[in-house]
Symmetry: C2
Subunit: 325 residues, 2 copies
Amino acid sequence: MQVVILGGGGFIGLRLAKKLLEDGRLNLGEITQLTLVDIAFPEDAPKDPRLEYIKADFSDEATIRKVLQKQPGLIFHLAAIVSGEAEKNLDLGMRINFHASLQLLELCRTLAFHPRIVFASSVAVFGGDVAKVILDETGAKPRSSYGTQKAMVELLINDYSRRGFIDGRSLRLPTITVRPGKPNAATSSFVSAIIREPLNGKATTYPVPSETEVWIQSPKRVIQNFIHAANIDEKILGDDRVINLAGLTTTIQEMIHSLDRITSPEVTRLISYEPDEFLQSIVLTWPPNFDPRRANTLGFVRDSSSEEIIRSYMEEEGIMNAFNK
Amino acid sequence: MQVVILGGGGFIGLRLAKKLLEDGRLNLGEITQLTLVDIAFPEDAPKDPRLEYIKADFSDEATIRKVLQKQPGLIFHLAAIVSGEAEKNLDLGMRINFHASLQLLELCRTLAFHPRIVFASSVAVFGGDVAKVILDETGAKPRSSYGTQKAMVELLINDYSRRGFIDGRSLRLPTITVRPGKPNAATSSFVSAIIREPLNGKATTYPVPSETEVWIQSPKRVIQNFIHAANIDEKILGDDRVINLAGLTTTIQEMIHSLDRITSPEVTRLISYEPDEFLQSIVLTWPPNFDPRRANTLGFVRDSSSEEIIRSYMEEEGIMNAFNK
């Protein structure tokens, strides 16, 4: 079976690719080819005879048509303009996050091969009264253009699945923490930065009050959940293909305290509060409290504490031994 | 102030136009011109110096641009491909219900005149477990392409309002009953037909079991609610511009019994059950039970009984005197 990752050059895309190649197979069958599509790939991207790299914009119709003509059985759709950029550039966000996604679905419909599609949606589809607990039936009320675009694609994926053109599933991802590498234009970028940067000896800031609750999931769990989503039988899901994942609810303060417990005050001393109106206007509309019954019933996994998440990041990055704890 | 009704040639559009001309003004100001845009208008459409008729497809960019260049202060957007047709012809539904609506919003954004827009959304945005009571925060889970398209436009209207391009408000309309005229391609067409047709001495059928609950509102109340929506101050609405109206929950059986009480068994004898799989597959996914707190708080009106709705229709149509009750 051919598998495609749209947005396969990003951190999550590459990590998902490595795991898929390691596992070698999914419930749908053995992975014979894994095609990654993205505008750029890092130089140290993995090498594997099953891997195909296609450097192209996700919105490029000819490229996507060519990829789909091979009739991949499974497509992970992670291609996106991140939240901060989509808020600042509405046209770009609409073009990539919405129109290119619709184009993907239309091509699947035209080529009539009914692929399974796992779509990366987001907590950003929610907004409004953040004090309320989000249930599986709570409506999407985005307070950002990014969230609006994600929610629209969720609706299309449900409708195109109901009509039998695709077999879709949309995962509403918590804020993925700790991301390695550099800060990016996602409005949630700081949630990773407050752990990663001080561990690298660099000063960093957070733009929201330290008691702000966030809803997070480690890269490791996110990857497991993407693969789990790809393995669930269509019959179990029925007509509603949208799943709120089971993120961990914690606070900025608790994350910093955890880092302090694992490392030392010299590390956490590098973190400070620097209010940012733009970031607050988006991040503070994301609800942090969920009752994700469906995700639990369907067997999706979760992290148990921010300490576990930080330790897992440090082990993955090989920086655990620097601290004797 | 110039007012525009997109889809102004339909039954609701024309009735809304008459009421607006009768009232002469809204909270936003005096109505100096009322422009109706539609693909067709009936021969007996009203005459008034303030009225302008534009015969054009709502998706025609040049026409809509021309209409918007006059910078109307208020736009009622009722233009749509109805549910049955949108389900049978996905391309047509997407083109009119979704893409043309997006084009309207984009033109408002480009022309930068921040019009108030009242959008006719629908109960069809809901679907799934119809036993549940729909709260204001319940998520849109359409089980039709029509409902999907309406839900997507609601999201856009919220986002474009939040960004300050428009001042939108989306009303989720119950099934409008009793519609005069002829049956149409709406999957809910029978809800009006079971009253209207026998009153005209014609046999008619309903496609769902008689105990099926429906969520209805009379044309009179719908018109009042459209005007009320146009009169509410933007500040009261905040970022969420979607409102579940307060429909009346009744059953097909109760509607027929009401008709029987008002008229005679000779009339209701003309109504029979004829199951239709296609219509059931859509109509039976529409939840009939709502707790529309926001609509009540905001002062939207509702009907009190199906008998009241039928009597109101008969009075409007001048057929009340035929029955001595």
